[in-house]
């Protein structure tokens, strides 16, 4: 047993090559050549910039399925500073991936990353993360590179603002700050420049609410990308989300037209933030500002309990609600 432990220690030592063996310059350059800076619509807390990786000579770019690529007016700046308009070809919510096509001139070809060359990696691997974070680099300037180590491989359990983040595939948790504005869609490589992963988004862990630095292994994305390149978008399958029998915020809005206040505190009171006119919630008489105190017989003390309790009711069954409206308790029936 002792020997086995020693073995594990030894092996892990091998991965920690000193950072001084700073990335091979040629390899770094190769990584820089395939990265594009994306610019599109943003506003408020949504950034108007991001990162992508060129994955075909005719200008297919892999990035995350963020608001940036769904809002139109997207432009991409390649490593040599050339600027292209771009159109979103297909997205996969489950893999949080998207393929954007740059509008190249006829017969124009770009240096690209062949996803088939993507390598696998294990926790302990020193990595470099290339991205357009904070929009520091402009035009032909090389994007930012930060260093770190793959800390763990684990399914991602994250939230983005009030929404449960749909990505479920195992990701690499990084001991490097990649959770920055504009970094998502960047390239994770080994220290020798081998392509490894797609830098993930600005999300928080569902339980700890801390920012998660993660990347999705390119190897797991490869089949998804193939489908996306053929123009096949994949939407979320309902089964995926309802598996936990908890209704996500998204589903609450979709099914009942009910939006609750975001869960910001240790315990956020279950206030109704919005009721869509003509929805089931509106028909039941719910109003903005109502505090849900009971669902069925269960006392609600935290807004996060709403989805779980509502999800416990079978379809077609009316959900009895008690709300506090201006210090008056009102009983309502919500059609499920």
């Amino acid at each position: 047993m002792k020997n086995a432990m020693l073995l594990v220690t030894l092996i892990s030592c091998l991965w920690f090559s000193p950072t001084s063996a700073a990335a091979d310059e040629q390899m770094q350059e190769n990584a820089q050549r395939v990265i594009v800076k994306l610019f599109g619509a943003g506003g408020g807390t949504l950034d108007s910039y991001g990162t992508g990786i060129v994955v075909s000579a005719d200008g297919h770019v892999l990035t995350v399925a963020s608001h940036l690529i769904t809002t139109g007016g997207l432009t991409a700046v390649t490593a040599d500073g050339s600027r292209f308009t771009a159109t979103t070809q297909a997205t996969s919510m489950q893999a949080d991936a998207a393929i954007v096509k740059l509008n190249l001139a006829e017969n124009q070809q770009l240096p690209f990353l062949d996803l088939a060359t993507a390598a696998d990696a294990v926790p302990g691997t020193p990595v470099l993360a290339f991205s357009n974070m904070f929009r520091v680099a402009a035009g032909s300037e090389p994007v930012s590179v930060v260093h770190g180590v793959i800390a763990a491989t684990t399914p991602l359990n994250a939230v983005q603002g009030r929404w449960k983040f749909p990505l479920r595939t195992p990701v690499w948790i990084l001991d490097a700050i990649t959770n920055n504005s504009g970094a998502a869609g960047g390239l994770l490589t080994s220290q020798t420049g081998k392509p490894l992963g797609l830098i993930g988004r600005e999300v928080r862990h569902e339980e700890s609410r801390t920012w998660v630095n993660y990347a999705v292994p390119l190897k797991t994305l490869q089949p998804v990308v193939e489908e996306l390149m053929q123009g096949k978008s994949t939407r979320l399958k309902n089964a995926d989300e309802t598996a936990a029998a908890t209704l996500s915020d998204r589903q609450l809005t979709a099914q009942f037209g009910l939006t609750m206040m975001p869960s910001l505190l240790q315990r956020t009171p279950a206030y109704v933030d919005r009721v869509i006119a003509g929805s089931a919630a509106a028909e039941a008489g719910l109003q903005r500002g109502d505090l849900i105190v009971l669902i069925g017989d269960t006392v609600i003390t935290d807004v996060r309990e709403v989805g779980r309790e509502m999800g416990a009711f079978r379809q077609g069954v009316k959900i009895p609600l008690t709300v506090d409206r201006s210090n008056q308790l009102i009983n309502l029936q919500l059609t499920n």
Partner: protein, 564 residues
């Protein structure tokens, strides 16, 4: 079990080298840190509220920090070193635009100083060490060390308003937090390559986000002599704007008609190919380059237009007219206490005894005491030089052909109010107080005014002017020589005097004497003293368009030759 052992042996055999190098690397890093840590300064507000970091640059205690670190503290500070001692320090000079300040620690002549490297050689991926005082953690002033890589070079970070602008800076992923500001960035060999000054803080608040920026040491060194002169030194502007064309050329978009660039012939549409001898590929790069030079620097540019290739030099003019240290924008102020609570910086300052006589307040200066020191230092060697009894004795005859075989063909005569030149049938008379560019001799614009200034300098030294101040160090063009600079003012005339090392007399003077007029630029060689009259045997006139020097031979005019 046996298999495990075999595997173990195999593995250890294969990777023993890797482990050795890892240990070696670790050992190297430890010894580098032992060497560089003593130069790292913990900069503290004397009221004990808040602070930042700094780095010692010379054994006499000069230390560089950030302007936004020292700006709240007033004229003196308390500084801790890793020997556990607290030293008094006095503010010396500031560069608010570039967010740099210079202080001097007192009480020792053997302060451990950092060794500057060359930040232009820094490359993305290089390992770096950031040392400093984040969160004011170390009560014994041992610097906190964070390690990272260079994330990008030649970065640009926008100013807050018009100052605290980071041009051509080094982006790193080493942890930088409040309190690190002003502290040094080192390369893996322990060479000082930058000053950690700011970071991209966003949703995390003011803590490390993996994107921090260091002012390059090369920029700091271009300013350090100005700072040592007690100045509020500014960065400069060129008088033109440019943008990047689609094919990566830097195209001039606007040129101010009052600018030197305009007088050199630069016009919108021209392609700027080099700035300060560096080839250009984008307008961003140009902006980065301009930002690393102090105001007043004369720099070469090259451009192409329909008429072909051109070259010339321009002087950067100040961005601001700092009359006093500017207030920091609220969001850039250092928390005066580590917990972010603002202290009261308004209390009347009582200077400690140690800095009595080391601080002198004057409008437009950071600490005029240091300017006085510097001026005295430059002029001291001249004290041993003879001073002629009266102004009349400083008269020159000039040989404008520059050929020593030829006779002098011009005479210069100077009075308190005028300076005149006679050459054959022609004569020019220039007023000393209010020079008129049209009264300058043909072929040598500005010569009379400049010689008037020279006579004042030779005869009266600093007493010959309304004001003489020290203005750091610069590379003189076209001499290509590093010189210390004095600036003299006489009513509207402003002269820059250039002093090369180990030479008491100036090597050159540039005289601004009229608005929108090229400076009169003279260079001097072969200083001589005849009958207590000092003069340069050779006076070179620099042509503004070609940057070439026309040499004139000068001789003191003897009484016998003075048949008027």
């Amino acid at each position: 079990m046996r298999a495990v052992i075999v595997l173990l042996i195999l593995l250890t055999g294969r990777h023993i080298a890797a482990q050795e190098s890892l240990q070696q690397r670790q050992q190297e890093r430890i010894s580098v840190l032992q060497r560089i840590s003593p130069s790292v300064v913990c900069v503290m507000d004397p009221k004990g509220a808040g602070g930042g970091s700094g780095v010692l640059i010379s054994s006499d205690g000069f230390a560089v920090s950030n302007y936004h670190v020292t700006s709240g503290a007033g004229s003196f500070l308390k500084c801790g070193l890793n020997d556990g001692q607290v030293y008094d320090a006095v503010i010396v000079g500031i560069d608010p635009t570039g967010d740099v300040s210079l202080i001097q620690l007192l009480g020792r002549t053997d302060f451990p100083a950092a060794t500057p490297g060359n930040s232009d050689l820094v490359r993305t991926g290089d390992e770096v060490l950031a040392l400093g005082n984040p969160f004011l953690l170390a009560s014994d002033f041992t610097p906190t060390v964070t390690c990272g890589i260079v994330s990008g070079t030649h970065r640009y970070q926008y100013p807050a308003g018009t100052f605290l602008e980071y041009t051509d800076c080094i982006q790193i992923d080493a942890s930088i937090n409040p309190g690190n500001s002003g502290g040094p960035l080192f390369d893996r060999l322990g060479n000082w390559i930058g000053i950690n000054g700011r970071a991209s803080f966003e949703k995390r608040g003011r803590v490390n986000s993996g994107a921090a920026y260091a002012i390059s040491v090369n920029q700091v060194l271009l300013f350090v002599e100005h700072l040592k002169s007690g100045l509020i030194i500014d960065h400069g502007r060129t008088g033109f704007t440019a943008e990047t064309s689609d094919n990566g050329e830097v195209v001039i978009s606007q040129v101010s008609e009052l600018s030197e660039a305009y007088r050199r012939g630069l016009r919108p549409g021209a392609i700027l190919t080099t700035f300060a001898d560096r080839p250009l590929s984008s307008a961003n790069q140009l902006q980065n380059l301009i930002g690393v030079f102090p105001e007043g620097s004369r720099l070469p540019i090259q451009w192409i237009d329909d008429d072909g290739q051109h070259r010339g030099t321009i002087r950067l003019t100040p961005i601001h007219d700092f009359e006093a240290a500017p207030e920091l924008p609220m969001e850039r102020r250092q928390p005066r206490k580590p917990d972010g609570e603002e202290g009261t910086a308004d209390e009347a300052e009582t200077l400690p005894e140690s800095i009595t006589g080391l601080f002198e307040e004057r409008r437009g200066y950071c600490n005029f005491h240091f300017n006085r020191l510097r001026t005295d230092e430059i002029l001291r060697p001249l004290q041993t030089q003879p001073v002629p009894a009266d102004a009349k004795s400083w008269r020159l005859q000039l040989n404008t052909t520059g050929d020593s075989e030829q006779q002098a063909d011009a005479v210069i005569a100077i009075t308190a109010e005028t300076i005149g030149m006679r050459q054959g049938e022609q004569a020019w008379l220039q007023a000393r107080k209010d020079p008129d560019p049209s009264e300058e001799p043909v072929g040598f614009p500005g010569l009379l005014t400049a010689l008037g200034e020279l006579s004042s300098f030779v005869l009266q030294r600093e007493q010959g002017f309304d004001e003489v101040i020290a203005f750091g160090e610069t590379t003189h063009l076209p001499l290509q020589q590093k010189c210390r600079v004095l600036i003299s003012r006489n009513s509207l005339t402003k002269s820059r005097w250039y002093f090369a090392e180990d030479q008491p007399w100036p090597a050159a003077v540039d005289v601004e004497y009229a608005v929108s007029t090229d400076e009169a630029r003279l260079v001097f060689r072969d200083w001589q003293t005849v009958n207590a009259v000092s003069f340069p045997r050779q006076i070179g006139v620099v042509d503004a368009n070609s940057e070439t020097i026309t040499w004139l031979l000068a001789d003191p005019l003897t009484r016998t030759g003075e048949a008027e």
